[in-house]
Amino acid sequence: MVSKITTFGLSGTRAFRVTVETDIGRGIPYYDIVGLGSETVRESRKRIKSAILNQEFEFPPGHVVQNLAPADIRKTGTGYDLPIATGILKAKKGGTGATENIGIIGELSLDGGVLPVKGVLPSVVCGRECGIFDFIIPDGNYEEALMCPGVYIYPAKDLKSAMQAADLNPEDFRKICVKMRESLKTAGESSGAADGEGSEGDDVGHYDFGDVFGQNGAKRALEIAAAGKHNVLMTGSPGCGKTFLAKCFAGILPDMCFEESFDVMQIYSSCGMPRRRNEIFKRPFRVIHQGITRSALIGGGKPLEIGEASLAHNGVLFFDELSETPKNVIEALRQPLEEKKVYVSTYGTREALPADFIFIGAANPCPCGNLLEKNGKCTCSPSAIAGYRSRISGAILDRIDIKIAMRSVGSDMIGGKREEPSRVIRERVVKAREIQRERYKGERFDSNGDIDNVNYVRACSITKSSKQILEKATDAMGLSVRSYEKIIKVARTVADLDGRDSIRDDDILESLSYRDLWRTGGEGF
């Protein structure tokens, strides 16, 4: 008697379809699972046996063999527990054809309870693509699974309820799913008000530009970065507020649209850290430090781990103490900064993970950190500074549009009048983004920071006098041809923030002030 159950395996942030085939034959009691399962899958035999018994089912006394097809793809994770257990029970009963049309995923505890697993949302998405619209998933993953439209989700608390649901005919199954969804919605609405306030409080509210005294130049730069999706490098003395400002940055970003948040949710689901319902549309903000390894940054390993670069997808990757980081780690950022993707190899396959983020780097200006402070506080030799700065290569610097220098705020600035709150800045950013989205309608990008060559020519034309300014600047500031384009891109965003169609001289001038400061050039006399 062979039963077939549909489930899903996870590779990176995408799921693939797996069929659990169960054959119960006569013979000496024997139980094995084949199909290139990793140790976690092989271990599941023990859990499944206990769970089946503890849920008062009977484990078939015979020659039980299960296969995870396709058998040539490595399978890891614990999400196979529930489909395997369901497969055994179905096979024992004699199987009904309908089960293959339900996607089942979940881990089992020894008492038969269903535990949440990684990658439920990608699995549901994958299932929908394969023409499967009914799913039984762990109760703990219900919220993320509901993000996927057009499917029927049954959240299983234990093996027994999962079996009951799997035995229903499709119409009844769907009716129950709709009912459950509606009851969750009403429950959500009754507690929604309190919920919403809480989310506002711990996300945007905690770090607000209104609490930062001074540093107006840096704030303006971050506003532009948020409006045009430009990468930023903040150079500044220790304690001048780089980290704080970067954290405030999250509060001025526009919310994600559904598609964006859906992508993000899939990534987070693949890592087993689904985002809370009240923050689904908030852009991710990932903070990393100098101690991070290359694979933690971009992902990789066996089994495949998602890196911070992908976790920051559609959001912000804030790299603190960038210049203290080993060069090979920083260099790993080249690919995501350029292609908005990271490529990682695992088990002989090459996976492309999305990694489209705004990069914010913070660095000290010199080894001692005090170069920008007056009164000769800095004790570094010029060669030490040059060596320190060379850790961030030109390739990385080229991909950073905005560079700013920051210094500690004088004590007289502290406690002055309250500054412009994030809320107001955010409104301007949202408007500028809308203008860009309108302009780049139908393209595969929606911001000035990601503009391609064709649109660059169309959107970033400048007047003759602006051109003259840039030519003069090329002489006076020693601009490279490459930085030319960056300056115009940033100027485009400045104009968008003002709601203007054309780029003015003033925009170019402001944009010029964000140009490269990092490289130690030779200045004479």
Partner: protein
């Protein structure tokens, strides 16, 4: 148009008094004007010293007057000018000096010399080194925006570079020649000559058409020294004419500045000697400002001299940078009411136009 009679009389007075200033002053205070003196000479009230015989001809007082009228007609026709020591437009510093010429012929804006806040003579060898040329350009252009008149002699070498740098920086410049104001010498300076005539002034004590002559040049140097508060000797060998200018400056009680040179280079030996004997050694632009009477601490004064081409924000920022030396953007932000984007624009503009520079740490300083 000039008053031909009046200046012809001055010219005549200069000749018959033997160029002696005391005699001229006495006669002027007695008769009140040059024309009166001429009339008195006609009446025989005063004795006229004439050069006597020349080429077998006796030059009389009338001959001199006729020549004078000719010269002034020529000046009038050319549209150039002449000014006497008793006129207001005469360079006032030169007036104070012993042996200042009674008449100065000029082409351009003579008033500019007095109008400038300070005047700096910049002199040096005709055959100059690269070092001399570069330092000349750097030091002169460092005075940009400060309303200083650069006085020099339009000779080859340092003189030309000083004029050029001054013109490039938009400063007023006066070229004092050892020949007539319509004689271009050396010929290769024709372009520069035209520019100075247009934007500055060309001065000579020689009447038009006078060809350059050896002895005219030291005399020219005395005018250069006399016109200026200080003389900056960029480069001078041990027998350079620039040292003559320096000597005049010392005698007139003016400051002598110079830059140090390598001790094994004969081209700069004269400058090093000047330092040894007490000239001001210039190693930075600030060293020039003080002898010229600039109070570097007084911020307002600098602000007043900022270039007019800049807008209000740019002037304010430039003023802050010039008064503080080195500033970070946030320090400037603290001192102004500008929004950060206005400030950034102003800084970029100043940087592009070469008024300020930004170092790799993000510090702005006056260029």
């Amino acid at each position: 148009m000039i008053d031909i009679k009046k200046y012809a009389a001055y010219y005549w007075l200069g000749k018959i008094s033997g160029g002696k200033r005391a005699v001229q002053d006495d006669l002027m205070s007695f008769y009140g004007s040059a024309e009166e003196i001429w009339a008195a000479g006609q009446r025989g009230e005063i004795g006229c010293k004439t050069p006597g015989e020349k080429d077998g001809l006796t030059v009389t007082s009338e001959d001199i007057m006729n020549r004078a009228v000719e010269i002034m007609k020529r000046v009038s026709k050319d549209g150039t000018g002449v000014v006497s020591r008793y006129d207001d437009d005469y360079p006032s510093l030169l007036r104070e000096c012993d042996g200042s010429p009674l008449l100065l012929f000029y082409d351009g804006d003579i008033k500019g010399v007095n109008r400038a806040r300070s005047r700096l003579a910049v002199v040096g060898s005709r055959r100059c080194t690269t070092y001399g040329r570069e330092m000349c350009g750097k030091l002169v252009s460092s005075l940009e925006g400060r309303d200083v008149c650069i006085v020099s002699g339009l000779a080859r070498g340092i003189d030309s570079y000083a004029h050029k740098a001054a013109l490039e920086a938009g400063m007023f410049t006066a070229a004092v020649l050892g020949c007539g104001t319509n004689v271009i010498y050396p010929g290769e300076n024709a372009g520069l000559f035209a520019k100075i005539r247009e934007k500055g002034v060309i001065i000579s004590e020689q009447p038009p058409d006078t060809q350059p002559f050896k002895s005219y040049f030291p005399a020219r140097n005395r005018i250069i020294a006399g016109c200026s508060e200080a003389a900056l000797v960029i480069e001078a060998g041990l027998s350079s004419g620039a040292l003559i200018t320096a000597n005049f400056s010392l005698n007139f009680g003016r400051e002598v500045l110079t830059i140090p040179h390598r001790i094994d280079m004969p081209e700069g030996a004269g400058c090093n000697d000047l330092i040894k004997t007490g000239a001001v050694m210039v190693t930075s632009p600030a060293d020039i400002l003080e002898p010229l009477g600039f109070d570097c601490e007084n911020a307002r004064e600098i602000a007043d001299m900022l270039p007019e081409a800049l807008d209000r924000n740019q002037r304010e920022v430039l003023y802050l940078i010039k008064t503080n030396g080195e500033l970070f953007e946030d320090e400037i932000a603290c001192e102004t009411d500008m929004s950060s984007q206005e400030l950034k624009r102003a800084l970029s503009a100043l940087e592009i136009f070469g008024f300020v520079k930004k170092d790799f740490a993000g510090k702005y300083y006056a260029a």
